[in-house]
Amino acid sequence: MIEVKNLTKRYGDIKALDDISFTVDTGEVLGFLGPNGAGKSTTMNIITGYISSTSGTVTVDGSEILENPRETKSKIGYLPEIPPLYPEMTVRKYLEFMFDLKKVKLPKKEHIEEIMRLVRISDMADRLIKNLSKGYRQRVGFGQALLGNPPVLILDEPTVGLDPKQIIEVRKLIRSLGKKHTVIFSSHVLSEISATCDRIIVISEGRIVADSKTDELSKALADTQKLSLTAEGSPSEVLGEIKKIPGVKKYMKVRELNEKTALYSVEYSNDCDIRREVFSAMVRINSPILEMKSGNESLEDMFLKLTQGTEKGGR
């Protein structure tokens, strides 16, 4: 549905995007993840034709944005980071304007009513946009992107500034839209992306650092298991025993909980389970284990690892 090929964008000497390529299939919900300033908005602005790339091409449903801008743009619904609203208009008037601007050929009144119901702004239809709260404005922006039921939706941080209840609503909405539309949406909140998307692209410093299915990403990158351990006994003795266990990569005392007890964190490779060894080691030095928990690295850890890695490599 969307094909992005070797996209590069330069601002003077600064490379905002460096050779980005990816494709999105019909009906897929793609999460665009990256720290602030990584190039998420730039990529989205290029796909929607707001700015142009220095080199590279974007094809949406077979038509190229530079060769065939009108046809391509009519296939995309775009919600930019700051919703493009006119504060002095009412919600209904604004949606009517956007309807005309996008040259939508559906029955106007019914379609606008339907969209307002979908994003739940029917109650606000005759209010001025400048009097709406941030959450409602965001929804009006959302409604605008949905006008004309475009096959592709591009949403730039649609949940920023919303309260938790609204965030959950928007996520649900995105997921339900994913059935009929192809969706790209960006965020720097990981839990949001992993909860909503089929696939994640992590972008950092203008480059793609990871591109995989949501569940694969956590599998592939979690080659390290983490063990958190609360045990009694002298820290030096405990750490000394942990060090001896094969498979341990990293170990440290996180903090002392009281004079006898401390919390430790141990990282070990995925292919061996060290919990039994830890247990017998602690028995040997007579340090009772109060708590032991092993788990996969969280998506957050991975994200930090991925994005920090490129920063080091880039500089």
Binding site: G49, P69, K73, P80, P84, P87, D100, L101
Partner: protein, 234 residues
């Protein structure tokens, strides 16, 4: 184009802009009408029109200052530029809205002509010709000011710059008579808006004047489209 035109018009009338512009225009034209027609016992609107030249130079930047500067500032230009409308359509929509706003101001001259007709036979041909000239002049000034608006994010900068340019254009004939170097003053004379506008106020409809204003309009609208295009590529 239609959508943008409609939105711009409703924006003028839902804010104070339209009413302030109309009030200022009507006030000054009424004052000049009083001075040059009633006080002088004349039926000619020529002096009213030529005095309005300066008012027009100040009023047009007020009409156009919002057009692109505001959009850029509140980022609503993202909606326009990612919609399936060409840049030309966007620019023409904005231009036409400002032009219609300006044309509405000029309707008052027809009222004055009708008032004159109660007392004497007005020179309809001269009045209509001048009105046409005013619209041509306004069109080219609007194009220049729309171009200024696209260059900045601040409405105030757009308005002040537009007024500066208007003043410069109004004083062109003054420069012409004060610059000694022959070729510069000749060149300035050729682009002096007042020269071309004056012919209309005498009731002379010459193709040269019409083409002059039309080409200035087209040129600056073209510049505006290019400036929008350039923003995308920078």
């Amino acid at each position: 184009m239609g959508a943008i035109l409609k939105r711009e018009m409703s924006a003028y009338f839902s804010s104070a802009t339209a009413y302030v512009v109309l009030a200022v225009f009507f006030f000054f034209s009424g004052m000049f009408f009083n001075f040059y027609v009633f006080a002088q016992n004349s039926t000619s609107l020529t002096y009213v029109f030529s005095s309005m030249f300066y008012i027009i130079m100040f009023i047009i930047p007020i009409i156009t200052m919002k057009s692109f500067a505001e959009e850029k500032k509140q980022k609503s230009d993202q909606a326009l530029l990612t919609s399936p409308c060409s840049l030309t359509e966007i620019v023409l929509g904005k231009f036409l809205a400002a032009f219609i706003m300006f044309a509405l101001c000029n309707v008052i001259f027809l009222v004055y002509a009708v008032i004159i007709s109660f007392f004497a036979q007005p020179q309809w041909s001269v009045i209509l010709c001048t009105l046409l000239g005013t619209l041509f002049l306004g069109g080219s000034m609007i194009a220049i000011n729309v171009f200024i608006s696209v260059m900045t994010e601040s409405q105030v900068v757009a308005a002040v710059l537009g007024m500066g340019v208007g003043l410069l254009i109004s004083m062109m004939s003054y420069f012409v008579s004060n610059i000694g170097i022959q070729w510069i003053s000749t060149a300035l004379e050729k682009i002096s808006f007042m020269n071309y506008y004056a012919n209309f106020t005498y009731g002379i409809l010459s193709i040269t004047d019409v083409i002059f204003f039309l080409s200035v309009t087209a040129l600056f609208l073209f510049f505006t489209v290019r400036a929008l295009e350039k923003r995308r590529w920078s």
